[in-house]
């Protein structure tokens, strides 16, 4: 005799399957698009735009991540592939963090529910904090690497 699957397990399985199906085209599309971009632009070209100045890298990538919209999973894939393609770690970090913490596209909805001033200030603060998080994370890794024998 088989034991019936509890309804909460079934519901969670269903939700996870739906998330997977929704993420699948984004994951595949993001991988294909990044690969195409990386094939078009060599690591040297990527390094020409990203990698000369940490602040400029962080600022550019934060601006892009703030406008970008999509599941965070896609930002990780994009960031990872861009990093492999020669884009600086500061830029990649800023992109991944701002993707989730700053939402230009979501701003009207946030303003509607939580107030216009709150939404503007929170996104502004998050933008600045993203720059700091990206710079501090990479600087910390440099310190760790320098400290290790």
């Amino acid at each position: 005799m088989t034991t019936p699957v509890p309804s909460n397990i079934y519901a969670s399985l269903k939700k996870t399957a739906r998330t997977f199906l929704q993420s699948l085209p984004v994951i595949v599309g993001m991988l294909l698009l990044t690969s195409l971009a990386l094939s078009l632009f060599s690591p040297e070209q990527a390094a020409r735009y990203f990698g000369r100045n940490d602040w400029v890298d962080a600022l550019l990538a934060t601006a892009v991540g703030s406008i970008a919209s999509g599941p965070p999973l896609a930002s990780y894939l994009l960031g990872g592939e861009l990093r492999a393609g020669g884009v600086s770690l500061v830029a990649v970090t800023a992109l991944v963090v701002s993707w989730v913490t700053v939402g230009v596209v979501q701003l009207p909805a946030e303003a509607l529910f939580l107030g216009r001033r709150f939404a503007l200030v929170r996104n502004g603060v998050s933008f600045v904090f993203t720059l700091l998080v990206a710079l501090l994370t990479v600087q910390t890794l440099r310190w760790i690497e320098a400290a290790l024998p």
Partner: protein, 183 residues
């Protein structure tokens, strides 16, 4: 964890179709480039498949263990620094599209939860526990740990800052927001 408001959108498929069209154009104009890009994509996908399986297994486990109602209840009670710590944890554990969380946060704000608590929650959403395996695969353990610690720290800092602004009346006159009761 439940992902409230998740709808079966077709945006992802349209995105994939647009990328496929780009590949068709690339295959016509520069076949070698398109082939190289396709090979790179397949290699990357093969590399991350086991990690993606782990990511979705974690998503399932979180969905089973937590509900948005439970997360929102946890935010409803504590205040001050304790409230920010709870908001930090709730933000880390929350999942799903951000749009779904706005009404719930607005409801809490109307009940008197401070703006700073909502800010901490929203910033802490940048820490994605189920996605940690993918981050480690791409960037390493040291990076993942350092970034997560900084994100948690800055989430709390955003709470401090937003609280000071709130107390200074920066968010007064938010016409669309229900008047908060005192926390």
């Amino acid at each position: 964890m439940n992902r409230p408001g998740a709808k079966a959108g077709r945006g992802g498929w349209w995105f994939l179709a647009a990328v496929a069209a780009l590949y068709v154009a690339a295959a016509v104009l520069a076949p070698e480039l398109a082939l190289r890009a396709l090979e790179h994509s397949l290699q990357a996908l093969g590399r991350m498949l086991p990690v993606l399986a782990l990511v979705f297994a974690l998503l399932f486990a979180f969905d089973l263990a937590l509900t948005p109602q439970r997360i929102m209840q946890s935010l409803d009670r504590p205040h001050g620094a304790h409230g920010w710590l709870v908001a930090l944890l709730a933000g880390i554990l929350s999942a799903g599209p951000i749009y779904a969380w706005y009404p719930l946060l607005a409801e809490l704000r109307a009940k008197g939860v401070r703006a700073s608590t909502a800010a901490v929650f929203l910033y802490a959403r940048a820490i994605k526990l189920p996605l940690l395996p993918l981050m480690v695969l791409y960037f390493g353990i040291a990076y993942s740990v350092a970034l997560s610690i900084y994100l948690a720290g800055f989430a709390l800092l955003s709470g401090v800052l937003m609280d000071k602004l709130d107390r200074a009346g920066a968010f007064a006159g938010n016409s669309s927001l229900p008047k908060p009761k005192k926390e």
